[in-house]
């Protein structure tokens, strides 16, 4: 890991537009969630557990990663004569080190943003006298941290590609893994490829892609299961390693090494 790249990733957030986005994001969701709770009579007890699941959900880590980590990875900054260096290093830097530093910083950033949001939510709950009804378990914290590392690795991989390629790649992966299987359900199944069901074959392909795009981990499965199923854990590690590996290979093959 390189300290300069690591710290510069956080420094990148110190721009007015990003700070405004960050403040709005941290404040908006908890405020919207607390508002209806404030309307309830003081004696009424409300189940707040679903909200813990909501904040620590893999989808939340994914959203935060795309919102805040993507802007701090090496996007292409094109001038007429090609790409340029936004940050100059006095010593040569391994591109793998660059990728790992960005990944680590990005993961901590995701955890930090969600932790800030949770903190603000807990403060609001205490203000309306419902703080005691909200508690976060160790498994939720572990899930949050692990899924933040997974989501940040995906974002690092997508943004290791030149900007346009990265966006197209992400859009294509997202469409094929989530939207296409849903759309296939409404198309009549009349195409058969030598006895093989066309729709099922395409769906199976989409499922494999989805497994590559979205493979969150739930620690609870390994603590409270009657039989340990290893596939989700292996998929999670495999995806993270693969994302980072692709990111490094792509960075290795880009015309110029630049950083921001």
């Amino acid at each position: 890991m390189n300290k300069a790249v690591f710290l510069y990733t956080f420094l990148r957030l110190a721009q007015p537009a990003t700070i405004i986005k960050l403040v709005l994001f941290v404040l908006a969701i908890p405020t919207a969630l607390v508002y209806p709770l404030q309307q309830a009579s003081p004696g009424v007890s409300i189940d707040l557990e679903p909200l813990v699941t909501f904040f620590a959900s893999p989808v939340m880590t994914m959203v935060v990663s795309f919102m805040f980590v993507s802007s701090s990875i090496g996007n292409t900054k094109s001038l007429d004569d090609g790409e340029y260096l936004a940050l100059l290093f006095s010593r040569p830097l391994f591109r793998s080190t660059y990728v790992f530093s960005k990944w680590l910083a990005g993961s901590l950033l995701v955890c930090g943003v969600i932790a800030l949001q949770l903190l603000y939510f807990i403060i609001l709950l205490n203000m309306i006298g419902r703080g005691a009804q909200f508690s976060i378990g160790l498994t939720e914290v572990a899930n949050l941290i692990l899924n933040a590392f997974g989501a940040a690795a995906l974002v690092v991989m997508i943004h290791a590609f030149p900007a346009k390629t990265g966006v197209i790649l992400f859009a294509a992966l997202f469409y094929l893994s989530f939207a296409a299987p849903l759309m296939l359900d409404i198309i009549p199944n009349y195409i058969s490829l030598g006895g093989i069901d066309f729709r099922d074959t395409v769906k199976a392909g989409c499922n494999i892609l989805r497994g590559f795009m979205y493979s969150p981990i739930d620690v609870d499965v390994y603590l409270n299961s009657i039989k340990v199923v290893w596939l989700p854990a292996i998929s999670f590690i495999s995806n993270t390693a693969l994302y980072l590996c692709i990111a490094v290979i792509v960075m290795d093959n880009r015309e110029f090494f630049y950083s921001n």
Binding site: S41, V44, P92, F94, R210, D220, N224, S238, A241, I249
Partner: protein, 323 residues
């Protein structure tokens, strides 16, 4: 040049790790796919092998698990949340678990037809979907788990269904005009539901209505007084107060409709409550007219429509009996 090559070397250990993990993933996936169905924490029943129609009213709740062979999200659910110790214990002890697996090979068989009927009955379009119903077949709650559902939310869903059982039984009795049973079910449910559940206010109103139909005004007052003190959200006030005033005799049907118009919306339940009170006062034609209007509210509500439809059926049966 040398330096440039140095900085672009991909770490061998990373390539190895990614390759080994990918290989391991494929092997584990192949092994786990071949073992599909062997791990049976939950003792699932086949729908064709149990009596789903003539079941005793007091027996266990039914948990239907609608799944489809070969679907990744179903496999994930089978291998994760459905193997959770707490869920396995709860389902085996407190529910009658019925697995409805969509299989192409069964498409034109009796079992396949039965499965399709159940899918249509509970309006299941995507897999996996979980439905909990009363032994009588009345649905309590449905949970679609297209993107998979992890253990904690699933456990919470099952516990919620258990807590809601008394409420659903009350609705079932009310739809069959069994007011005494409905009042008892709602009242016993209210005593354990606390004030924080989503249905507490509706349950209290239905309970008060059941007692009102039995002519027990004292009970109506006691239940409504308690309910009016505890409100979950501000919008509750809009519903609870006018309907409670109707049951307490402070408002009549016209007054209630005026109040709803003043608030800016009419709900199907307004007509249901007015219809029920018309019925209580012996105005059967007025009751049927209002009960039929439950379809025409601003918001559609299957719960209210089910109650109104049930009540109309009971009235018609009584009329047929008289003739």
């Amino acid at each position: 040049m040398d330096k440039a090559r140095l900085t672009t070397s991909t770490p061998v250990w990373l390539i190895l790790l990614a390759t080994v993990c990918l290989g391991l993933r494929t092997i584990v996936w192949a092994i786990e796919s071949s073992q599909r169905g062997e791990v049976t924490g939950i003792k699932w029943n086949e729908p064709s092998k149990i009596d789903l129609v003539g079941r005793d009213y007091q027996s266990k709740l039914i948990l239907y698990y609608f799944t489809s062979e070969g679907l990744e999200s179903c496999k994930t659910m089978n291998n994760t949340s459905l193997l959770n110790k707490d869920i396995v214990k709860l389902v085996n002890e407190e529910f009658l678990p019925v697995k409805i697996e969509n299989k192409q090979s069964e498409e034109n068989t009796d079992t396949g037809k039965l499965k399709k009927e159940l899918q249509q009955k509970f309006v299941v379009f995507t897999f996996p979907t979980l439905v909990v119903s009363l032994p009588s077949g009345k649905e309590i709650e449905t949970r679609n788990a297209y993107a998979g559902v992890s253990a904690k939310p699933l456990l919470r869903f099952l516990e919620h269904c258990q807590r809601r059982e008394g409420y659903s039984r009350g609705l079932d009795y009310l739809a069959h005009a069994k007011y005494a049973e409905a009042a008892r079910s709602f009242e016993s449910w209210l005593s354990t539901a606390g004030d924080g559940t989503k249905d507490t206010i509706d349950g209290a109103l239905y309970c008060a209505l059941s007692y009102d139909m039995l002519g027990d005004n004292n009970k109506v007052r006691v239940i409504l007084d308690k309910t009016l003190q505890n409100k979950r959200y501000s919008k509750d006030r809009k519903w609870t107060e006018p309907l409670a005033e109707l049951l307490l005799g402070k408002l009549d049907g016209e007054g209630l409709i005026k109040e709803c118009d003043r608030q800016g919306y009419r709900e199907p339940r307004v007509y249901y409550f007015i219809g029920m009170l018309e019925l209580k006062h012996g105005n059967v034609a007025g009751a049927i007219e209002n009960l039929r209007l439950t379809e025409k509210g601003t918001y559609t509500s299957s719960e209210i429509y089910g109650l109104a439809d049930g009540q109309i059926n009971v009235i018609n049966q009584v009329n047929v009996g008289k003739n």
